[in-house]
Structure formats: C-alpha cells, structure tokens
Subunit: 246 residues, 2 copies
DNA sequence: GTGACTTTGTGCGCGTGTTCACAAAGGCTT
DNA sequence: AAGCCTTTGTGAACACGCGCACAAAGTCAC
C-alpha cells in the first residue's frame, strides 16, 4: 500500500523543478534592470552573469518554460519578462495581509518590492492596542480580532506572519482556518500546517549563524586554532556541564 | 587545464554538508526551547518533530558532528546544545555592523535573535544625514564615512547590508576592502565579491514570488483556467509587445 | 547476569540538481 | 545562395541530498 509518499504535492505538476522556480525571480529582476536600461535582447551568458548563475543552468531553467530564445541571437528581454511573470503568476494581483506590526512588520509594510510585483497589502494587523490605530505606510493598523473578517472581505490568499514567536502558531492556525493557503513566516518557529498549505520561512538569525560557521571555518575551524581534539570533552568533564553526574 | 572548478571553496572542508549546516541552527533553537522547559534528554524522533524534519535526516546530520547520542536513550540536550554551538562557531563572539538604517535596518537593530546568539552589533551606519545621530535600539547611528574606521576599531567580521539596492554594491566593495569576509545582504541585487568572501542573501520579494507560483499552481496553473495553450502568443501577436516589428 | 526493548548510526538505492560539451538552428556576410 | 559564426537547447555524466530499513549498541527490568 501507498507505494510512494508523493501525496504532499502534485510534484510533477506541469514539471518545473523547485530549484528553477526559486531562481526565476532572480532572472526577472535582472531582466527588468536590463529593460530599464533599454536593452532589447540578451544572451544567456550575459543574463547568467547578471543573475549570478551558470549560463547552462540559466538556459535549462528557461527551457522549462518553453523555447523562448533565438539561436545565434539570445533572448528578447521584454518577451522573457512577460513569460517569467506569467509563469510565476505575477500577471495577476495577490492580496497579502501582514500580521504583527513590530519593527519587522513596519519594514515589510514600507517595502517597495511588494507593490511593484503585483502584491497588494490588504491589511496590517496587530494584537497590541497601543499599535492598533497607528498609521503605517499609508494604512491604519487594525486589531487581530478582525483577522478572519479582513481575509474574507479582501480575499487574502497570502499571509505574512511577523509576530513574536509565541504568537505565530496561533495566528497561523487562524489564517489557515480562514482560507489562506500560503504563509510567509518571519517568526523563529517551525509552523505546522495541514497538507495543501505552503509555508516559506525567512530567518535572520539562521542566516547569520550559517555565516558564522563559514567564518569560523576560514579562521581554522572549531578545533583548528584551539588546542582541542575533535570529539574532546566527554560528558562530565567540562565546565558547561551542570546536570551530569560527576 | 583546470580539471575541475572547485576552487571557490575548500568544499570538503572538514566535511559537514552545506545542507546540514543550514539545519543546525534549527536544531539549536529547538534544543534551547527544550532546555528552557527543563528537558534533559531527547530522542531523535522527538527533536526531529520539533525541528520539522525527518528523524533519519536529523541523526545523519548529528552524526557529522560526532557520536553524541546514547543508543536506547537519545541525546543529552545540554551536551548537544554545546556541541552544535561550538560547531557553528557560536561559542565565540562575532562582531557585526549594520549598514543602512531604514525600516529594515531598524528592525534588524532591534532584533533580539542577534545578541542572544553571540552576535554583537558594533555599529549602525547610514549615509543620510537626517538619520545619522539618531538613537536606535540604544545605539547612535553613525555616518558611512566612518565605515572603515568602525570595521577596523571593533574588528567587524560580518557586515549586514540593508541599504537601497543602488548603494549595496558600493558598500559591499568597501566592507570587503576593509577586511570583512562575510556579508548578509538584504538589498535586492546580486553582489559580486572576490573569492574567499561569503555572501548570503535574504530577499523578501523573492520568497513572495515563490509563494505566488505555488498559489497559482493550486488554482489551476497559468494556463489551467485561462483558455491559453502552453506556448501561446508567439512574438509580435500579443499586446505586451511594443518593440517587435509587426 | 540475562534477555528483551529502545534508539542510534549508517549502508544503500533513488531522485533531484548541476555542469560539461556538443549538435541543431538561426542570422549574417559575401 | 552558400558557408561561417554565434548562441540556444539538451543528452549524459556526475555530485549531492534524502529517506528507508536494519544491524549495532546500549539501557532497563527482573
């Protein structure tokens, strides 16, 4: 029974690899940059350089969308912008709600990258009465009591969670129950959601920790400079231990 | 010549896969949560659930750090916290400078996740005279003129770039020239850096676009509901085209 | 001390993603 | 119109990561 566990998503869908999807927005940004500079056509080599990827990878990525290049010439910038936008679903508007208007929520509310790509912020919500009613980026902060109301009224399909970690799962449950099927989570917790709901996570602290790892590696590794062997300090012998018997 | 192009990084290093490194901070957070609740030992199954991963993957990840579990029992929480912290380089302090004190920079300056993991913010810098001198999160914003000075004086090794896109590459060049070897970039541009410098990128807009793609897929795909065939609209026939000859 | 039980650590097969290298295809020159 | 040159699109090899499934290893009960 259950020969394979591929029930979590259609997986094959129409067949664009996840890794490719993650790069399409990068290509799109590079292309709009070229567009603004008046460039009409671009080769895979040039575009790949602008996007910071290998040119063969770029071509294979684009080939998943169809054959939109001209051999010997390259890709027409405007055409490619349209095709990628369409594939990503940016030719239609997406309605977003931002929950949690702390420092981060405020930054998100004022972020220009949302509106410019077809994302419309339908509401800023917070549970703190001291914040509710404030005017942020041209919008009035509303109380989270109205969450379900706002989601239904504006047809919100994407929720951005910028609450403290302790509130995130509760908010997530509510937005999912209200019909939201995509969540962008900035709270430092692992959200659990039912099948069919997509969650993406952005975690500032994790990125820094990854950098710290590589930084340490460059400096000689955790054992490189310190006179400790790998696998040093068995339990009960070092200063960090408190609850272990001696 | 150049039989393989693996000069960009030591790659093998001491051999912890990149995917594992990216998950260690997640495990660490789950572990400190358990620690605060007074849990002394945890099985791979429990910890994996808390971190949102497969238990076999968790065990394999931890096995790269060494054999720190006890069969039949599990892992000692406190010991594991220490080992992961050490591997990630969090047992030492990292000095960070935040460049760009707009909405996002402000949010970062006030973000608790930095200080709690051994990241010390040595300076907030901005090029705007209207912002320089302001007090943010207990620190006085300084002018970017002093960038090199501050990096040298405080021994900054990680730069966080939260400037507008147009300023990011310039700032990046300066911090790298001043000796910084790790950069966390929030600006929506592809930074180019010399070999030996690590760049990690956080892009809010890209995450949203990826969500939009999946959301559209759930709703029937770009061609699912619309009556367009895949490969529709050859050049010169649709309304978006302006520069193509008819 | 012995046996049953629990949980780790890992060998192995599979799928995904990346890169090289080249044939196919189109434009441009003469 | 023919051949050269540029660039795409892709086949094939390779590298990487994931997850199953199981043997090894340790604990706990009696």
């Amino acid at each position: 029974m259950t020969p394979r566990q591929n029930r979590h998503r259609d997986r094959a869908g129409r067949g664009i690899p996840e890794a490719t999807v993650a790069r399409l927005p990068v290509y799109l940004r590079a292309l709009t940059g070229l567009q603004e500079r008046g460039v009409a056509t671009v080769s895979s080599e040039e575009l790949a350089a602008a996007a910071g990827v290998n040119s063969a990878k770029l071509r294979k990525d684009l080939s998943h969308l169809g054959s939109y290049g001209t051999r010997g010439v390259g890709y027409e910038v405007e055409y490619l912008v349209y095709q990628i936008s369409r594939e990503l679903g940016l030719t239609q508007d997406w309605v977003v709600a931002i929950i949690g208007v702390g420092n981060l929520g405020r930054a998100l509310a004022g972020y220009g990258g949302f509106a410019s790509r077809g994302f419309r912020v339908a509401g800023l919500l917070d549970a703190d009465d001291a914040i509710v009613g404030q005017e942020i980026a041209g919008m009035t902060v509303q109380h989270t009591d109205r969450l379900e109301d706002i989601i239904a009224t504006h047809g919100v399909s994407i929720a951005v969670i910028a609450t403290p970690a302790s509130a995130a799962q509760g908010v997530c449950d509510r937005v999912v129950a209200a019909g939201v099927t995509s969540v962008l989570n900035f709270a430092p917790v692992v959200l659990s959601v039912p099948d069919g709901v997509d969650v993406r996570k952005v975690d500032l602290s994790i990125e820094l920790q990854i950098l710290a790892f590589h930084e340490q590696r460059k400096a000689g590794g955790p054992d490189g400079l310190a006179p400790l062997a790998a696998g040093d300090a068995p339990p009960g012998t070092s200063q960090y231990v408190e609850t272990v018997e001696a």
